[in-house]
Structures are given as structure tokens and as C-alpha cells.
């Protein structure tokens, strides 16, 4: 590992000033589960590691029925699934935070870090997209908001400027009769990178899908929101055939590569299977029944 500097800001202001000062050289350290691996691979030469865990805004975990969820960017996975209220409100998010890495990784890794790392395979991102989460991004110049589906722009690259910091994520309160689910496929049962993943959310009413969103992992350069799958659901009756159409749309939208984790053909196929299974589960969670 190359030499680095270590900084430990305790206020957001101090943190933003560090990012402003170091720019491209600054690397946020939350759980470190990606960062330390990258540093060992030779990245971050002469970098400034900024330990953001002690900034209160990045550590906030708050849920209100009207405000929804505020999830500090550095909050580790275990705190999220350890919160009974959050677990009840967002089972689709819980699916992801309880499957990222294993127990030890979940003791460190954060959803914010998972997002900032911008890996195509990031498990948390499709779930966040399905839940219409929004990023709160700050710099010394001010704050802005960006929907999660616009955050990742290429493998390993996100939409933030060098001096910006992801402060928190905001997830709207779950609508009534809604349900969400994230499923991924991995060859083992734990400790693996998604060969493909599907995050979905549905809102039901009068036997129809009032709303539906489908996002995919590991099948495009960035996590992929499949608009056509949502279109296939919205306004349609809650039945297997409709779900099958949405799943087919997901398969059609996927544009995976062939690599050590699977062939493109296999991954496209998995998108269909996972989208279908995730939608079925989300419908159950929404209190619906499938015809």
C-alpha cells in the first residue's frame, strides 16, 4: 500500500473543507471494505483518506412516517437491519443490507459507500432506485439533490465532483399497499458478487399495480432502471402474466458482458427469473395476492 494521509473530521464543515482542499486526492473512508482493497491494489497513491464516520450528518439513521428515511452515507449495514422500524418499513432495503458481504463486512460497510463505489454489481443500488431514493450531496459551495438512478455514471465512477461528499440518502415513506424486494443470484449462498440482481417495488390498489419499478444489478455499466418494466406493470392487473411481461422487459433491457461471473446470455436469462421472483415477493409484501 502506498503512503497516505489520514484525516478524521468531526463536523460536516471540516469534512467538506478537506474534500475541497484535497479534491481528487481525497478518498472517503466509511466502512473501508472497498477502499482498503483498492488502496492495496495500488490506488490512492499519496492520497488523503478522510474518515467520514465521525461526522454526525453522515451517521444519521432516522425514520418518520411523513419524512421517510434519512440514511447517513456512512451508516453501516448492521445498524439498518438492527433498527426494527426501518426493517418493517423497507424490507426491500433490508434484503440488500443483510446480504452485502457477510456478518463482518456488514459491521463496516455502508449503503452510501456501496453507492459511491459505483460498481455495476452493487447490491444496494437497485433497491434504492426501486424505492426512489434521492442523494443529498454537499460541498463547501452548498448542497444539491440527485436521484439515485442518476448517481452512477460508469463502472467505478459517480456523478459527484471531486470536492463533493455524499452526506445522506433519503427514501420516501413507503406508500400504502406497497412492497419491495431485492434478489440477486450468486453461485454460493453468501460472500459473492451478484451475477445479476433485481430490485423492485410495487404499489397495489384495486387488484392492479398502481406503481412499479424495476432496477437491475450487474447487467450494464451502471445499475439499470428498467423503465419499460415499470410501464408493463403500471395500471395492469396483479397477475402472473403481467409480472412475466415486466420480467421479459427486464431481460430485454439488460446488456451484460461475459466474464468470470457468467456469460451474457446467462445473465440476461437471470434478469428475467430474478425480476419475476422479486415481483412475486414484493406483491406478497404489499399484501397482495397473485392471480
Amino acid at each position: 500500500m502506498h503512503s497516505v494521509q489520514y484525516h478524521r473530521p468531526v463536523t460536516l464543515d471540516e469534512c467538506l473543507r478537506l474534500f475541497d482542499r484535497f479534491g481528487k486526492q481525497a478518498r472517503a473512508l466509511a466502512g473501508g471494505t472497498d477502499l482498503l482493497v483498492q488502496m492495496r491494489a495500488g490506488h490512492c497513491r499519496n492520497g488523503a483518506v478522510v474518515d467520514v464516520k465521525h461526522v454526525p450528518e453522515l451517521n444519521e439513521l432516522r425514520f418518520g412516517t411523513s419524512d421517510g428515511l434519512t440514511l447517513g452515507a456512512a451508516v453501516p449495514c448492521y445498524r439498518i437491519y438492527g433498527d426494527a422500524t426501518v426493517s418493517r418499513a423497507y424490507p426491500g432495503l433490508i434484503d440488500t443490507v443483510s446480504m452485502i458481504g457477510g456478518t463482518q463486512i456488514q459491521g463496516r460497510a455502508s449503503v452510501g459507500g456501496n453507492l459511491c463505489n459505483a460498481a455495476p454489481s452493487a447490491d444496494a443500488v437497485p433497491a434504492l432506485i426501486a424505492l426512489r431514493a434521492v442523494c443529498r450531496i454537499a460541498s463547501v459551495r452548498g448542497e444539491r439533490e440527485l436521484p439515485v438512478d442518476q448517481f452512477c455514471i460508469a463502472p467505478g465512477r459517480n456523478a459527484m465532483a471531486d470536492n463533493e461528499v455524499l452526506v445522506s440518502l433519503h427514501v420516501p415513506p413507503p406508500p400504502e399497499h406497497s412492497g419491495a424486494c431485492y434478489l440477486r443470484f450468486i453461485p454460493r449462498n453468501e460472500m459473492d458478487i451478484a451475477v445479476a440482481g433485481a430490485g423492485v417495488s410495487v404499489t397495489l390498489g384495486n387488484g392492479t399495480f398502481r406503481d412499479g419499478r424495476v432496477a437491475l444489478a450487474s447487467v450494464a455499466p451502471t445499475p439499470l432502471l428498467v423503465e419499460k418494466a415499470g410501464v408493463a406493470l403500471r395500471g395492469q392487473p396483479v397477475e402472473h402474466e403481467v409480472i412475466a411481461r415486466a420480467a421479459a422487459a427486464a431481460k430485454a433491457a439488460a446488456r451484460p458482458i461475459t466474464d468470470m461471473r457468467g456469460t451474457a446470455e446467462y445473465r440476461k436469462h437471470l434478469c428475467e427469473v430474478l425480476t419475476r421472483r422479486a415481483l412475486e415477493k414484493a406483491v406478497l409484501r404489499a399484501g397482495g395476492t397473485l392471480a
Partner: protein
């Protein structure tokens, strides 16, 4: 390169050390503090051999910077036994033959202890899920899982009497 002065609590004792910013907690424990019970198997968080408890949560010490230990409470395998008496888990691993080469054992002991601390009555599935971040290449896990189960039932017996 400037060293960082870190104050933490390790195995219940105040510990101060100097480390480089790039040194991991694993390097600090092993190379600086000579607590070599915590093992390195992969250095990227995938084998669990370096599992330690940090502020009550198990973490891979290879993915923590030494500097992050400032103000933290760290528990390593060296801190599990109480005085000259082995922890029940350690005894169960011995009577249950839950180790062969033993290199993964410290990680399993620390991780299993954390599980039983928060869930004294885990099912086989809960044990397997909790320990999925700890690789063992020798035992096939059977005797490890059984030893954790045996410790749990022993603890329950002890607490009910």
C-alpha cells in the same frame, strides 16, 4: 512519513501505539502490538481469519485502518479466555474437535462469541449465516457448527440453574 498516535482499549486494557496511516488494524495488532493470534488469510475481507470485535461488532481487521482504532474498544482472540480459564466456546472447540490446522480458529472463536452474546439460542441456519464470512478449509464446518450449538446449550443450562 508521519506516524499517528492512537489510544484505544484492547482486550480490556488501555493500549497506545504509533502507526502509519496506511497500516491496517491487522498489521498494528500483529506487527506493532505482537498480538499474532489474529491471522491474515486474504487481506481483503473474504476469509474471516482476522475477525476482531470493535465496539461490539465483529469486523475484518484487514479492512480497518489502525488509525480508526482511536477511542475504540477492540477484542481479539487473546482476550476471550478469562485468566487461566478457557471460554466455554474454546473448550467446546477442543472437545468437539472443531479445528484441524487451527489457522481459522481465532476468527471463528471471536465471531461465534459475538453471535452467542447477542443470540444465546441460535438455530443451525442462524449459525451458518453468521459464520459465512469465516472460511475453514479443513473441517467442512460440521464440527464447528456443532461446537457453537454445544456451547449455546451449555450456556442455557448454566443460566437456568
Amino acid at each position: 512519513m508521519q506516524s499517528i498516535h492512537v489510544r484505544s482499549t484492547i482486550n480490556g486494557q488501555p493500549a497506545e501505539f504509533l502507526c502509519e496511516p496506511r497500516q491496517s488494524l491487522l498489521e498494528v495488532l500483529r506487527d506493532v502490538l505482537r498480538l499474532t493470534g489474529t491471522k491474515e488469510g486474504c487481506n481483503d475481507g473474504n476469509c474471516g481469519a482476522c475477525t476482531v470485535e470493535m465496539d461490539g461488532r465483529i469486523v475484518p481487521a484487514c479492512l480497518v485502518l489502525g488509525a480508526e482504532a482511536e477511542g475504540a474498544e477492540i477484542l481479539t482472540v487473546e482476550g476471550i479466555a478469562k485468566g487461566s480459564a478457557l471460554h466455554d466456546l474454546q473448550s467446546a472447540f477442543l472437545t468437539g474437535a472443531a479445528l484441524q490446522c487451527g489457522i481459522c480458529t481465532p476468527g471463528f472463536i471471536v465471531a461465534s462469541k459475538a453471535l452467542l452474546d447477542q443470540n444465546p439460542n441460535p438455530s443451525e441456519d442462524e449459525i451458518r449465516l453468521w459464520l459465512a464470512n469465516n472460511l475453514c478449509r479443513c473441517t467442512g464446518y460440521d464440527k464447528i457448527v456443532r461446537s457453537v450449538q454445544a456451547t449455546a446449550s451449555l450456556c442455557r443450562e448454566e443460566s437456568s440453574t
